[in-house]
Amino acid sequence: MTPATPRAPHAGVHDVAVIGGGIVGAAIARELSGYELTVALVEARDDVGDGTSKANTAILHTGFDATPGTLESRLVARGFHLLSEYAKATGIPVEHTGALLVAWTLEELDALPGLRDKAEANGYAHCRLVGADEVYRTVPGLGDGVLGGLSVPDESIICTWTTSLALATDAQQRGTDILLRHSVTGVEAHDGHTTLTTTAGDVRARWVVNAAGLGADHIDRLFGHDRFTVTPRRGELFVFDKLARPLVDKIVLPVPTSRGKGVLISPTIYGNVMLGPTAEDLTDRTDTGTSEDGQAYLLRKGEQLMPRLLAEEVTASYAGLRAATEHGDYVIEATPEQRYLVVGGIRSTGLTAGMAIAEHVRTLLADAGLDLESRGRLPGPPHMPNIGEAAPRPYEDAELIAGDPAYGTIVCFCERVSEGEIRDACHAPVPARGLDGLRRRTRAMNGRCQGFYCGAAVDALCRRYTRDGCGDRDDAPTVPTETSVPTETSVPTETSATTVPTRPEGQR
């Protein structure tokens, strides 16, 4: 890869600060750092893509079912092409599985032609009405009672984790400063620049782009606006064992109703099967826990949709929060007098639309007065490690292993992650800083055993390689001194507890 031109901000003031290191923020930073600009990507958490971007249905949407005429519809359709091309260039795993909308009631069946027309209004002309027999031929495991379907041949599955990382890595290689653990707490306007107060010190920039996802409305208010309120909409999902994968090789969508898009069954890029999401409006923007009701609901839906799936083991369950607002569309608006632009209400379609949103933001900023001067030579797109099942993984690559036996040393057995990949993830340009970051870069510990076999070994490698690589690590097991939950039972007094056997850090 070509190193980027060093681009030190002038007098400590960046040309643009992008708040939010999710897919949308990273795409914007990447786009803008393709011009003669100094860009900072300001992220509250300790990793990019660690908020809404990490937990979604990971579908690369054609945009067939968007509301025609909306900004969202236009950007999703454009984003589908941009991200498809970008995935080819960078190695972001994508599988063009296609989708099937399945009607279980007469009302749903009657809605299918309208959905096909809507797709056409959105510029997507490949939908086709299919009979129940064809639905069962395509997905034989579906429960009884299917009346018909609509095929969407280009809906695809993608790796959302690699997408965030590719965009952030690309931005960084183009010169963007990625500032992690910088949670924005205040905004001060000055003549010619804005100071962002953050938990890790001030960040100054001439222009500010707010792509803060679940926190976008809070930041917007710091700038004195009252345009929208984010209502975190929780979506819970079950991930079923890879052995279930032969049951589902297409995205199986419900017919959307006024209450939302409903529960789908989808293959994942890692070879699992996913059931979900639920849709539940919350107030707590940090509540990514799963719930008893949510799980019961999913199991009920799963029982109707594909009873055979429920006989399979669950590998993981998780919940993501969509940044829903009271508006039916994305809120992307520049305020030239503040040299400020907001990108709000980007729901689950943001994964697909991210790169198109970035283009759109760039043109709005240019209109608002930001000088955009093309740079002569840009570094090429980064090449991302393949963590999907559609292309060969390192453990299957004899040549790669011959060159470096670490790729033949499988550490995480369920996901077949090699030591070489764990090392690489810890040494990457945007490196893993702990186990969660490592999971998203390699799949390590994401498999059916959830660490029974590999957890301790992966942890040891992570400590070893982050120490010799990128330094800081703050997720080592720590013991809270005080818990907020009352203890109820009396605990027998401990007298004979032995001390933890410890060894020097370098111990293997």
Partner: protein, 428 residues
């Protein structure tokens, strides 16, 4: 019968080195190592054991407490010492053990596809023994909702962290489950300086209480909440508490802890068996086998906790000894007989292993059928029926207790008719 068996698509194997041992043993735990030692010792030819871990020995490697080796070696060893002993015996007998070597799937011609630091290769043996063992279901597989904090483990992970990697855990733990392994988790926690503050069991008594005498329980001193389940894990970042529910009253409360260990609830590591298209049993989720430990795939045998999740290490080892003779018979040209009589478990049993009876086959390992019960029965009266007729009835002097394997003498099957229907084993 499990209907989901599937085969992986055959990738290109051109140019991949091929090994052709006489016997391939997949899994170097107690069952695999013992089978390999017996086979190599009996002159079965080239016996190759592959294990994906850095060292052979299986789960005993990280179970750093005593109690291993009683039934097979007639002595009592710690887990790691037992693992070394079995590894040494297999090596001394002439078996070839390759570690960091993982079977990742099957080639179109039935050869195993393998990845190791030495490269990618294929193995096409004359006979295969699957000894891939079992693992505990993690929290997610048990569908327990809540936050996803740090500090939530299975016993396997906990023991690896503490005994192999010498990492600290928290200060105050809840142990979910009351199986033998749950008490093993308690021992490990104490060694790591973490108080096992509560054990949670859905049964009316901790499943494996009977295995411990009163003195043993006093030493372990873990309060047990019976008829209780965990309904939620609480804590962002680090675990802070679990919510537990009493199954009879429905009453819920939170219990503070920074560590949760999900123990027991075993599932066989059946990925290779299943992707080979081998018939699995709905109860054990391991391969269906006959008393000679043959699977539904000719030339492929299975042994150990892949078949009965989960029994003690020495029982797994004795399976290895039992299967070796049958593998040798196969190598000598003895072919699998066609038909067999099906054996099935009735409530309160969840499963029985093995599941197929054939007239000229040997009795099962140790002359015992292995069963798993969902109810505690102090004086179990075992009844064997075929086509509605009682073949045998016997009250056994040991209890049937959830959380550990219940053993039944296979002689109770002696009167089964080879031409009759399914033989059912239950309690009166």
């Amino acid at each position: 019968m499990n209907q989901h068996a599937s085969t992986t698509p055959a990738p290109s194997t051109a140019g991949t080195p091929l090994l052709t041992p006489d016997v391939l043993v997949i899994g170097g735990g107690p069952a695999g190592l013992t089978a390999a030692a017996e086979l190599a010792g009996a002159g079965a030819g080239h016996v190759l054991v592959v294990d994906r871990e850095p060292e052979a020995g299986g789960i005993p490697r990280h179970s750093d407490h005593t109690g291993y080796g009683l039934r097979d070696l007639h002595r009592v060893l710690s887990g790691p010492a037992y693992a070394r002993q079995l590894t040494d015996r297999a090596t001394a007998a002439g078996a070839d053990i390759r570690t960091r070597t993982m079977v990742t799937g099957w080639a179109g011609d039935g050869a195993a596809e393998v990845t190791s630091p030495e490269g990618r290769f294929r193995i096409r043996p004359r006979a295969t023994v699957l000894a891939t063992g079992a693992r505990e279901r993690p929290r997610s597989a048990r569908r327990i909702p809540g936050d996803r904090p740090q500090g939530v483990y299975t016993t396997g992970q906990l023991q690896n962290l503490v005994h192999v990697h010498h990492q600290p855990v928290g200060k105050r733990a809840v142990i979910v489950g009351g199986e033998l392994v749950s008490w093993s988790a308690a021992v490990t926690l104490r060694e790591a300086g973490c108080t096992p503050a509560l054990m949670v069991s859905q049964y009316a008594r901790a499943e494996s209480y009977a295995a411990f005498n009163a003195a043993g329980r006093t030493v372990l001193r873990v309060p047990v909440a019976t008829r209780t389940r965990v309904t939620r894990v609480i804590g962002k970042g680090r675990c802070e508490a679990v919510e537990i529910e009493h199954l009879d009253t429905g009453r819920r409360r939170t219990f503070a802890c920074d560590t949760v260990v999900f123990t027991g609830d075993w599932i066989p590591d059946h990925e290779l068996a299943r992707t080979a298209g081998i018939t699995l049993d709905d109860g054990t989720l391991g391969p269906v086998t006959d008393t000679a430990l043959r699977t539904s795939r000719a030339g492929t045998f299975a042994a150990g906790n892949l078949l009965h999740p989960v029994d003690t290490a020495d029982i797994a080892a004795l399976d290895g000894r039992h299967v070796a003779e049958q593998v040798i018979r196969h190598l000598r040209g003895h072919r699998q007989p066609e038909d067999g009589l099906r054996l099935a478990a009735d409530v309160p049993f969840r499963w029985v292993a093995p599941q197929i009876l054939r007239p000229y086959d040997p009795p099962p390992a140790r002359g015992r059928l292995l069963l798993w019960t969902d109810e505690f029965v102090r004086f179990p009266r075992v009844t064997v029926r075929q086509d509605g007729r009682v073949l045998a009835r016997r009250t056994l002097p040991w209890p049937a207790a959830p959380g550990r394997v219940f053993r039944v003498p296979s002689a109770l099957l002696d009167r089964a008719s080879a031409t009759g229907g399914t033989v059912r084993i239950g309690l009166d």
